[in-house]
Point group: D2
C-alpha cells in the first residue's frame, strides 16, 4: 500500500450499539486498513468518542462518500484529516518567552505537527526570538479597554485570514473577553502554573514558597469564559524542597509550563484531544 | 440494559483487513454494546491483538454462537470472560512476606480481581499472615531433589483441583523445573529486583550498592524455562543515592517488587496482558 | 567504637556566623564523631536549622553537659535522641483501613521507627486489623458534641499516660477542636488527598472526575487549627486518565495517601522534620 | 557582605573525629560564613567527604593560608573554587548530535557552568552545529590504529593547551585506550543507554524492543579502562509500551541520554561529584 494516504478520523455521537461495526464497515468500503483505533464511552454524558488511523489509497471525496451514510445515521460530529499535516496555529504571548521558545524549537525540529503563521503580543519583547525562528511577529499594545478590543478584533481577523485551527496562549497575560472565548471555543489552549493546594491571588510562587509545598507543576487547559477553569488537557508536577527560593520555584515551574503546553499542542495537532462536557478525552 | 452482562473478549489472529468489521458485526448480532476496545497490530510477528468489553443481555452460549463464524474464519485464539469474575490464583511464597501481604490486602479490598484458594510455601513463616486474611496455607519443605519434585507435583495437583488460572511467584525462592514452567506456560508470573546495569550472581543489592547505582527497581514477567528471561509485564524504578545502605536498598526494592507484582496480577486478571512472541501487549 | 551510642542532635536558633564551629567543638569535647550532618539557613525567618548524627561512647548527661554552653550561648531549641529508638505513636482512625494497614505492616517490618501503644477510633471496624498486628485498639463512638469532647479528653489522657511523642491521623474523619490542635502542636500529622486544582466541599474524587484531572495525589501535613492548612511535610501524585471512574480515582488516591503518610511518619520519627514558621525543613 | 566572594570548598580525607570542627574553625578564621554544607562518611572505604559553600571577603591566598594547617593535619585532598566560574570542558563527539546540542544550548543559556574551548570529532557531521553555537570544531578521522593514536595524542595536547578540567564523551563512539583513560581519570564522563535488564552486543534498542521492555534509560558515568563500568554519576528512565518501534525507543532513549549527561556535567562543574572507590558521592 505504498501510495496510500494515512488518514486520521475522529468521531463523536450518542453512544448506542452498532457504531463500531458501522464505522468499520465504512472503512472496509473505503478499502482502508485500520492501523490505530481508540474509543471511549462516557458514562457522564452518554457520548461515544472514537479516533481511527486508516491507511487507504482512495481520495478524500471517496472516503467521505463511504462515511456519509454512517455519520448521518448516527448524527456524528466528525473530522477527517491526514497524518502529519501541520495545524495552522496562532500563538499569543506577552513578555515571558519560555513557552514560545519551546514551541518554536520543537516546531522547527518537526516534533509538534504545527505551523505558525504569526505570533501576536501586547509587548515587543519577544520579537527577536520569533525572528530567530523565522516566524512573523505582530506587536499591538493593550493599554486600555479600547486597545484590548482592538487586539481581540485583530486576533479574529488573523484567525479568519490564515484559517487558523488552534490558538495557543503561551503565557499571554491578558484576560480574554467572553466573546473571544466563545468565538474560539474548543480551539484555544492556555497554560498556567499549578500547585497542591492551589493558591489564589498574586505571586503564587511566593505563596507556594511560604507554605513550603513539595510539588509544583503546570496545567494546560481549554480556555472558557470561566477563568482558568476550562477542561484540563495535561498536567505535570516536579518535586521541590525547602532549599528553593521563590525565584527558583518559578524557574522550575516555567520548565513544567513549557513541556506541558508543548505536549498538549502536539496531542491537539494529532487530533488526540476530544471534549466531553467539562472533561477531555485524550487518545494518546 | 440493567440486566446485561459485562463481557471481556480477547482475540489474537494473523493481521489482515476486515477483522474489526467482522468482530464488531458479531457483537451487533449478539445484541452487544462495545464499552471498551483496544487493538494492536504487531509488526514483529504479523499478529493482530484485540480486547473488547461488551455489554449484552444474551447468555454465553448465544454469544459464542454469534462469534463462532468469525473466530473460525480468521483462525483466532480467543477468550470470553465476565468483568469482575475473580481469577482463581495460586500464590507460592518462601520467607519474605512483602509481596504476599500486598496481594492479600488488595485482594480483600477488592482491587485485584483474584481469589486465592491456597498459598503454598517451602517455609512455615508466612502461615500467620495467610491466616489473618483467611486464606488456606500449605507448608511443604523442599530440602532436596525429591522434596522439590514432590512440591511441584503438589502444585500441579492444586492447579488441577482448584482449576487455577494463574500462579504467582511472590518471592518463591526455588528455581522451577522446565517441566513445571512448560505446564504452566502463559499463566505463571514472577517478580524480581532490577537494576541498571543488571548484576549477576549473589547479593545483588550489595553489588548495586558497591557500584553506586542511582535507580533500583523491579520487573514482573512470565516465567519460562529461561530463568528470569520471560516476557516482561511491568517494570518500575525508584531513585536512590549514595547515603543508602545495602539493607535500605533492599527495603526500597521490596516496595517496588510489591507494587509491580500486584499491578501485573491485576492486569492479568482483567485479561489485559497478551503475549506476542517474547513480548507482552498490555491493554491498560 | 563498638560500644558507642549513635545520637541524633537537632538544633534551631537565630542564624549567625560561628554556629557550626561552636557545635562541632561541643561534639569534639563529647568525644563524638559526626556521621551525618545537614544544615539550612532560612532566608524567610532568619533561623538556622541543623541535624547531626554523632557516634560517641559517653552517656547522655555528659553529652548534654558538653552541649550546654553552646545551646545556652546561641539560645537554641535542641533535642538529643538515639538512632533507632522507636517513637511512641498514637494512631487515630475511623473506618478506612488503608493507611493503618500500611503503617502497621511497615512498623512490624522495622521500617518506620515507631511503636504504637494504642489505636483509637470512633468506629469499631478496624479492631481486627489492629489485633492482627498485636496492637491494642480502643473504640469510642463520637455521635455528638459530648462524645467528641470525651474522645478528645481520652486522646490527651493516652498521650499523657504513654508519653506519646507523635499522633497520626490515619484517615480519622472528625475535625479536631482548636484546643486539641494547640495541645498537640508540632507532634500531630494528618493525611489528605490532593488535586490540582484543589476542590472544596464534599465528594472531591467525584469533582476531580467531573473536571477530568490528570494527576491525583496526597499531602501529609502538621495539623493546626486552620483545617488542612498546616505546614506540608510530603506530597505525592500519580497520573490518571479519562477512563478512570470516581471509585478508581479514590483507590489510586488511597495508595498515595498510605505511602505519603508512612514516609512522613518515618521522617518525623528520625527527627528529620523541623518547622520553620509555616514551612517544614526536611533533612532527608 | 556585598563584596564577598562565594567560595566552594571540597575536602576528602580518612574519617576521624574532629574534622568538621577543624574545618569550621578555619572558616571562622577566614571570616567566612557557611551558606551550604554537606558531608558523608563512607562505611565502605572509611573516607570522609565534605563540600562547603562559604561567603568571605578575603582573597584566595588568605583563605588557603587559613585552611593549610587543617588540610595538612588531616592529609586532605581539597579544592577551592569560586561559585559560577565556568569549567573548561572539552567535548568529544562522533555523528549523533543530540547530546552535543543539549550541552551547547544549555551552556549558552547559562545553565551548565562550563565553557567549551573545542569540540573534537572523528567525523565531520557536527561541524555546522558547533558553528551555530560559535564553538571551534576539529575533525580528525580515525580509520586505523595510527589514526586512533593520533586522535588521542591530540586530545591530550588540547587538554594541556587549554588547561581542560573536564572531558565529555557526548556519544563519542570510539573505545579509548587504557592510557588515555588513566591520564584523564576522574575528569572524563561518558553517557550510554541503559535498560532493565541490560543487553549486551549490537543494536540494543532492537533487543530491548524484542524483549518488550517497559522502561528505557541512560547512565552517565566516569570513564575507566573497564568499558562502561566506571562509577555511576546519574541515571534516568522513561516508561515505554508495546506500541513503540525500535526507532521510537531510540529517539526516547536519546532524550534521556541528553538530559542525563547535561545534569551530570552541571553537577561536576559545581564540584558536587566526588569519587569514593567505585561509587560516586553526589552532593546535590
Amino acid at each position: 500500500m505504498s501510495d496510500a494516504t494515512h488518514w486520521i478520523l475522529t468521531l463523536v455521537c450518542d453512544d448506542q450499539p452498532g457504531i463500531v461495526h458501522a464505522v468499520s464497515g465504512a472503512v472496509v468500503e473505503a478499502h482502508g486498513n485500520i492501523t490505530e483505533s481508540q474509543q471511549f464511552s462516557s458514562a457522564d454524558t452518554g457520548r461515544f468518542f472514537m479516533r481511527l488511523q486508516v491507511e487507504s489509497g482512495i481520495d478524500r471525496a471517496s472516503f467521505e462518500a463511504a462515511l456519509a451514510p454512517v455519520t448521518s445515521r448516527y448524527d456524528m460530529e466528525w473530522k477527517l484529516d491526514v497524518v502529519g499535516r501541520p495545524l495552522r496555529t496562532l500563538v499569543l504571548v506577552s513578555k515571558a518567552g519560555h513557552c514560545l521558545n519551546d514551541l518554536l524549537f520543537r516546531q522547527r525540529a518537526g516534533q509538534l505537527g504545527i505551523e505558525v503563521p504569526l505570533v501576536m503580543s501586547n509587548h515587543p519583547d519577544l520579537a527577536e526570538l520569533a525572528a530567530f525562528y523565522g516566524v512573523p511577529f505582530e506587536h499591538r499594545p493593550v493599554q486600555d479597554a479600547d486597545g484590548k478590543q482592538a487586539f481581540e478584533r485583530a486576533v479574529l481577523d488573523v484567525v479568519a485570514e490564515h484559517d487558523v485551527e488552534l490558538v495557543v496562549l503561551a503565557r499571554y497575560m491578558q484576560i480574554l473577553s467572553p466573546e473571544l472565548c466563545a468565538a474560539l471555543a474548543g480551539r484555544i489552549i492556555n497554560i498556567h502554573h499549578s500547585f497542591l493546594p492551589g493558591f489564589k491571588g498574586a505571586s503564587p510562587y511566593r505563596q507556594a514558597h511560604a507554605r513550603g509545598v513539595k510539588l509544583i507543576g503546570a496545567t494546560a487547559h481549554f480556555v472558557t469564559s470561566d477563568l482558568d477553569e476550562g477542561p484540563i488537557i495535561e498536567q505535570n508536577v516536579v518535586r521541590v524542597d525547602h532549599t528553593r527560593t521563590p525565584n527558583e520555584l518559578m524557574a522550575i515551574g516555567q520548565d513544567e509550563e513549557s513541556r506541558t503546553l508543548s505536549q498538549s499542542v502536539k496531542w491537539f495537532a494529532e487530533h488526540r484531544v476530544l471534549q466531553d462536557g467539562a472533561r477531555t478525552i485524550i487518545f494518546k
